[in-house]
């Protein structure tokens, strides 16, 4: 997207990491600022909650949201895939915002997706928004997938689920310092399980304190890796409020 997002940034650049290395259930996982995780040992890239065609899904119901979300999401996904050149891509559910999403996907976006899939394996995981295999696209279709010591499924299983990587909840962390709160999408992990942030360009989020997160993590071990403007920030759950 030439020029479109190249606004002049006047602030001092925040120096810091654009990736964070963690271990989940014994497997090395790299959390990337673009919103994907990378498993270096197996060459797997995972992206969750793409919510492609969210604008169109709303338009079908009478809310004419801008039709640019798919383009923006795919452009960011292309950057992440180019960086890691993965052998396998896992799309961790809610890849399309509704059932009609893949069916009515404009050809330009379909071609772009096919281009990203070329030369690698691709697994679509079933999500609550897209409980059916995407129409007219390559790739495996399954409700969960095991890679190394990890299991990938869209909705987290409450209770013990060592090595589970899930999406669905769109985690965001709210960090408060000196009475001021900052909210950012995050990767949340206690070393046993990880929740991935939603990748889609117009997806909102749910705070880690929300009741839907209850019982998923050992709160004393939980760390949120927040996606900042130019870098990653890691903050312990117990220190969210200073």
């Amino acid at each position: 997207m030439p020029g479109a997002t190249a606004a002049l940034k006047t602030r001092t650049p925040a120096s810091g990491p654009t990736t964070v290395d963690v271990t989940v259930n014994g497997t090395a996982v790299v959390c990337d600022r673009t919103g994907v995780i990378w498993l270096p040992d197996s060459g797997t890239l995972v992206v969750s909650d793409l919510h492609l065609e969210k604008g169109a899904a709303h338009a079908r119901r009478g809310m004419l949201l801008p039709p640019y979300d798919t383009a923006a999401t795919l452009a960011r996904l292309a950057v992440a895939i180019a960086r890691y050149n993965p052998r396998l891509v896992i799309s961790l559910g809610d890849s399309f915002h509704d059932r009609s999403g893949s069916q009515y996907l404009p050809d330009c976006y379909r071609d772009e997706l096919i281009g990203l899939q070329r030369g690698r394996q691709w697994s679509w995981i079933e999500g609550n928004h897209d409980p059916e295999r995407p129409a007219g696209l390559e790739g495996d279709w399954c409700s969960q997938l095991h890679v190394e010591t990890l299991v990938f499924r869209h909705e987290p299983n409450y209770g013990a689920a060592d090595g589970e990587i899930a999406g669905h909840l769109h985690p965001v962390a709210r960090v408060v310092r000196r009475g001021k709160g900052v909210r950012r999408p995050c990767f949340a992990s206690d070393g046993k399980r990880m929740l991935m942030p939603a990748f889609g360009s117009t997806t909102g989020g749910l705070e880690l304190r929300h009741s839907a997160m209850r019982g998923l993590f050992d709160q004393n071990a939980l760390v949120a890796h927040l996606i900042g403007r130019e870098r990653m920030y890691s903050v312990a759950f117990t220190r969210m409020n200073g």
Partner: protein, 843 residues
Amino acid sequence: MKVRSKPVINSSGLILPEPFSDWFASRGWEPRAHQLELLAETAAGRSMLLIAPTGAGKTLAGFLPSLAELTARSTPKPGAAGFRSLHTLYISPLKALAVDIERNLARPVAEMGLPVRIETRTGDTPQSKRARQRSDPPDILLTTPEQVSLLIANAHAQRLFAGLRYVIFDELHSLIASKRGHLLSLALARLRKLAPDLRTIGLSATVADPEELQRWLVPQSPGSDAMAGRITVTGGASPVITILESAERIPWSGHSARYAIPEVYQTIKDHRTTLIFVNTRSQAELLFQELWRSNDDNLPIALHHGSLDAAQRRRVEAAMGRNELRAVVATSTLDLGIDWGDVDLVIHVGAPKGASRLAQRIGRSNHRMDEPSRAILTPANRFEVLECQAAIDANYVGAQDTPPGGDGGLDVLAQHVLGMAAAAPFAADDLYAEVTSAAPYAYLDRDTFDKIIAFVATGGYALKSYERYARIRKRADGLWRISNPQVAQQYRLNIGTIIEAPMLNVRMTSRKTGTLSGRGGPPLGKVEEYFLETLSPGDTFLFSGKILRFEGIRENECLVSRAWDQDPKVPAYAGGKFPLSTYLAQGVRAMIADPSKWSALPDQVSDWLQLQQQVSQLPAADSLLIETFPRAERYFMVFYPFEGRVAHQTLGMLLTRRLERMGAQPLGFVATDYSLAIWALQDTGAMIADGRLSLGDLFDEDMLGDDLDAWLNESWLLKRTFRACAVISGLIERRHPGKEKSGRQVTVSADLIYDVLRSHEPDHILLRATRADAAQGLLDIHRLGAMLKRIKGHIRHRALERISPLAVPIMLEIGREPVVGEAHESILAEAAEDLLAEAQTLS
């Protein structure tokens, strides 16, 4: 009964139908000159604006023409009960006002035996009654702007309004400057099309620019300057206003005025009925609570504000009408023309934010024009003492500071266009002519109008991918129609221009151990969701005059139980704030700069200013004072521009941005009506001293150029404005049939939609509407520009060792209200460092 309508000539030589002259005579009254003049002018077919102070019989004057005409009208033959369309529409900005007018009008109409049916229609009117009003309309319908928009968007609008003769706009001055007024002007344009002979009557308090209202009332056309006629009633005794004298210590900051409770209570005891006005809902709650704590005599004191349950408000209003109350603590819900009983005193707690507003509130007391109204101002903190004194010195109540109406919002237009399609198929040419006859849209160009039609149809995007999802379509006959009936339903659910913060119902429940059971008790009202986010179960807070214990949130309800604590743990949120008018800010600044005026102030206030003079210096009228001092490992800069909170907030954003670029590492800022404080990690005082930071550069006027644009595009402010535009224009839904979308979800997605739209189609019509809105009201760019020009070369810096007396109030605001600013990333960096430090100590 039979009514004859033989017109009689009264003493002024004007026509008044017999029942009216008899009624006036039976009371020993004489119709007032302006009432008769209005009657004569409208009888001659003119639309009119009546400007009059409260107590001048404005309301009766407004209804006289239509009552006279209805009386003269032939009664339908019995049995031939054909459909009779509405005769008069009365539109009020407040539901309560419509209800009040019904009560006040019903009595004379009954006493004169007029064959006139009067009904109200508001958001509270039951569905069955609304349907009946469409099939069998009353003669006079008293309603609100939103209801009018709903009625004209209905397929039966033609039938309902074909015989409409009069539209009366009450408190017109309070409507026209808002989006609500824009929508109403478009509705009026449609009413004129349905009933070409209708006349309008505008009722207004004194305004700065009456011609703007006169234009608003009649159709505009290119090149012409059509105006309604105007009748101005002057006079009325000027009000007697004093400042409450208290022996207690007046606090540095805060808005509760708790210190003054004993005096306020005594004053209530000394009067028949006192209206106590405050600026925010939480102030009302707090004051009400405190008064009851002192209420040893068990005086009937009530509470009235917009968040309370409607039934509860009606009860208070009714009791007030029966003169059963000694005092009512109220917010702006009672600002406008409600005409009640024997109020003999108005107490205004907190500074009067705006001259017109104060005049309006003081007008509530003693509704007789020839006797002076009495009012007592009660400052809540030391700055407000200055403000109250400045208000009295400047004969503030006579001043007029109503804002100009401005150009009609494009988001409002989009909503209206969809509504018109829902009413009947339209041709774009016709609708354009109709819309531009409304004063706020008189200068709307055709290209913009067509863009709005395209927006309503398919979103108006450059990327044309939504043709198949179009909401309205142009058919072969050239007329635009809605695509399906759901579109009309969606329109009805999303109507209106008032975007409220997401609110939850507050419902009383009995406290059970751990669990919540049953349907819960009565609803108490509504409270903002973001306020509840800060609460944990068990926290207590003040609402509806009670201390409540927060139990939890279930679906769209906040469940509470009665708490018996003496003090609530969490004070209620301060709610809305008003920009201080330039007029007062200058008065306050002049008073501070001139020690000879201090004798009029309470000792503790003049002592405070003297101390400031010794320790630092006083902000002069022609320059800008900046103080710097260290405090708790931060370096503070406090500015005293006296330009109002909105302008200071904009200034704070821009200065923070510049300071960041200059390497001062600012962390945040807080703005009040008088001053602005910015804190940073670097010693800004030292930076100024050794020349690393140039104040001239910092305040360079080009701040309002590129910096403003760059900042605006990223700011939360523009996002918030966009959210409102997106909801009003129908891009984002307020509610969906069946499932209520919570306001919080709307906030989140609107921000993201804004980002996507801005990066892909920055010239989209809705972004244009957003930028226009932000520049008009939210930023106060105009005032800021004037200030930058004025202070150029006149910046006074004082490097201090510690906080100055004048800085204390704003420093106390820090932490009390949410800090806005651009320093988000530094907060995250700081938090991330914590983890790093922790990790190092562990290893």
